[in-house]
């Protein structure tokens, strides 16, 4: 379990991480979602002691990272797959980690096998690796000590679709065995297919967090009917906010309430469901709009309460 409390990091006058509090629970995959520069990597670096926090704490199973006697056996970390000595071979990088952790040498071969790096590829210097290969090597390093906690910064970067699928299954299996998985991404689609819980960060602040199901519910209801105008009037009467999608309405209420309103108005529905990915995507864009570099500031959209 990872517990982050009131974590703040300032650089001069700039606040990169601003009072971040969240918990990544055991047995679950927690997605750490936010646009570029939102403070995800800084938060993760603080967790593993590479960056000192200005204030606040980050604990792993109740202990600071520096208190772990042999961190590689308890926490698997992948922050930047390219941060390796370019002149070492992939196998050598794993061997160094294996020796530091005090593991048997066969672990190196087991992990190379697990991440599908061939012996020939493992013998190549990392300078000649593609980003996808580096990412696989980084994941192998993180998993080497069979840790119970994984902290992965943008692990899907550079992986091909098959690789992403492979990683998703791997992390799913890890969490199902009781492991704690925290992975960051700036891509919603990447994370929503795997995460159980979501922590959304924008401009250094947590803007939303909860289980994926909760956040999906909060994203509203999609309702489709041939008689859009009648339903729209009924919703207006009921004081429920909604927006128009192509031949449907996206309503900011749960499906139960929308169904009742439709029944009362005598409108036949062709579809009624919680707004899924598309809704979450909208939420993500909205929640992080303040931090987006390319926002059209046509509305003073207030980021949702943290």
């Amino acid at each position: 379990m990872i517990t982050v409390e009131s974590l703040t990091k300032t650089y001069g006058g700039f606040t990169a991480v601003d009072g971040v509090t969240f918990t990544a629970r055991a047995g679950r995959v927690t997605g750490f979602l936010g646009p570029n520069g939102a403070g995800k990597s800084t938060t993760m670096r603080i967790m593993v002691g590479l960056t000192p926090a200005t204030s606040g704490t980050a604990h792993i199973d109740g202990r600071r990272f520096a208190e772990l006697p042999n961190p590689g056996l308890e926490v698997g970390v992948l922050l930047d797959a390219s941060a390796q000595h370019a002149g070492r071979t992939g196998r050598e990088i794993l061997t160094i980690a294996q020796r530091t952790m005090g593991l048997p040498a066969r672990r190196v071969d087991e992990l190379l096998d697990l991440v599908s790096l061939t012996p020939e590829e493992a013998g190549r210097r990392v300078r000649n690796y593609s980003l996808g290969m580096r990412q696989r090597l980084g994941i192998a390093t993180a998993l080497l000590g069979d840790p119970e906690v994984l902290i992965l910064d943008e692990p899907a970067n550079g992986l091909d679709p098959a690789g992403i699928r492979w990683m998703r299954d791997l992390l799913r299996g890890y969490a199902d065995q009781g492991g704690t998985v925290l992975l960051s991404s700036h891509l919603l689609h990447e994370i929503e297919v795997i995460a159980d819980d979501l922590v959304v960060i924008g401009q250094g602040r947590i803007v939303a967090q909860g289980t994926k199901a909760e956040l999906l519910a909060a994203a509203g209801t999609l309702v489709r009917t041939p008689d859009v105008s009648t339903l729209a009037r009924a919703l207006m009467d009921a004081d429920v906010e909604f927006g128009h999608a192509a031949d449907a309405l996206r309503v900011e209420a749960d499906p139960d309430l929308v169904g009742r309103i439709a029944l009362a108005a005598g409108v036949a529905l062709t579809e009624l469901r919680a707004a899924d990915g598309a809704g979450l995507e909208e939420m993500f864009l909205e929640l992080t709009s303040d931090t987006q570099r390319d926002t059209q500031r046509d509305a003073t959209s207030e980021g949702a309460a943290a």
Partner: protein, 275 residues
């Protein structure tokens, strides 16, 4: 039917609950292991390997040069010792610098300092390895020089002269270890390969001549020099024999040039952000 449902529910419960067993807390990483890993890291790259290989290679070249070009009456062990010692003074500090700076320049520190989250231990292990390499290199180089002395005198038909004692050897080793530690200090302080190497050459090649010029024209500097010019004070080590005052000179100038900046550098390493 009922049993089946129950069983199914049980299975479901088990799926929800974490099944990992509590594991015993791992033993802390012993210092010896960190030193062994750092030793491995110093020659597992092409550049690291050739840097170490160059110690033996340059020692052989220097020895061969003495045999080929030195006058017969200078074919003594001291000549060979001086010849093989010279490249060491350049290569050893480079090894020390790169062992530290590559963690930042190559960014491998991201892994090193998360596997061992006590940076002081990693840096100490690097220092131990660097000094170990220095001592081993000197032994190897002087052994090559000794072979050269035997071969050279045999070819020239002169008597073999062993005009260098153990204490001479220890002084030279000491001087080279200090040079290496200067490189190590600059690596820790600057944490950038190119920057630290340039700084080392400014320190070891530019500053001595400036100091020399200044001492020639300003008598106050001439008096002060042994106390503040670390290079100058160290040079006596190569010449063997140290008086009590020279030891004091070495301690004071070493404190100024080595201990103080190293302390500042270590403080910065422990506090800095590894990106």
């Amino acid at each position: 039917m009922t049993t089946l449902t129950l069983e199914h529910e049980h299975e479901h419960e088990r799926e929800q609950a974490p099944v990992r067993v509590e594991r015993a807390a791992p033993a802390p990483i012993p210092m010896s292991r960190i030193v062994a890993v750092e030793a491995r890291k110093s020659f597992d790259t092409r550049s690291g390997f050739w840097l170490l290989a160059s110690i033996a290679i340059t020692a052989v070249i220097a020895t061969a040069a003495v045999i080929l070009w030195a006058p017969d009456d200078e074919l003594t062990y001291a000549s060979f010792g001086a010849a093989v010692g010279f490249p060491m003074a350049v290569i050893l500090p480079m090894i020390a610098i790169l062992s530290v700076t590559s963690e930042w320049s190559q960014r491998s520190g991201l892994t090193s300092f998360t596997l061992v989250p006590h940076r002081g231990r990693v840096v100490t292990a690097k220092a131990v390895v660097a000094v170990g390499i220095a001592v081993a290199s000197m032994v190897l180089a002087f052994a090559i020089g000794a072979v050269g002395n035997l071969v050279g005198t045999t070819i020239a038909g002169t008597d073999v002269v062993w005009d260098m004692g153990l204490d001479d050897f220890l002084y030279i080793v000491g001087a080279n270890v200090l040079g290496l530690l200067m490189g190590f200090m600059l690596g820790v302080l600057i944490r950038n390969s190119a920057g630290a190497i340039v700084a080392y050459f400014v320190y070891s090649l530019v500053l001595p001549s400036l100091s020399e010029v200044l001492a020639a024209s300003q008598s106050w500097w001439g008096d002060l020099r042994p106390w503040v010019d670390f290079n100058y004070t160290q040079s006596f080590l190569f010449e063997g024999g140290f008086t009590g005052e020279q030891w004091a000179n070495l301690a004071v100038s070493g404190g100024l040039w080595l201990v103080v900046p190293l302390t500042i550098g270590l403080w910065a390493v422990l506090r800095s952000e590894v990106k």
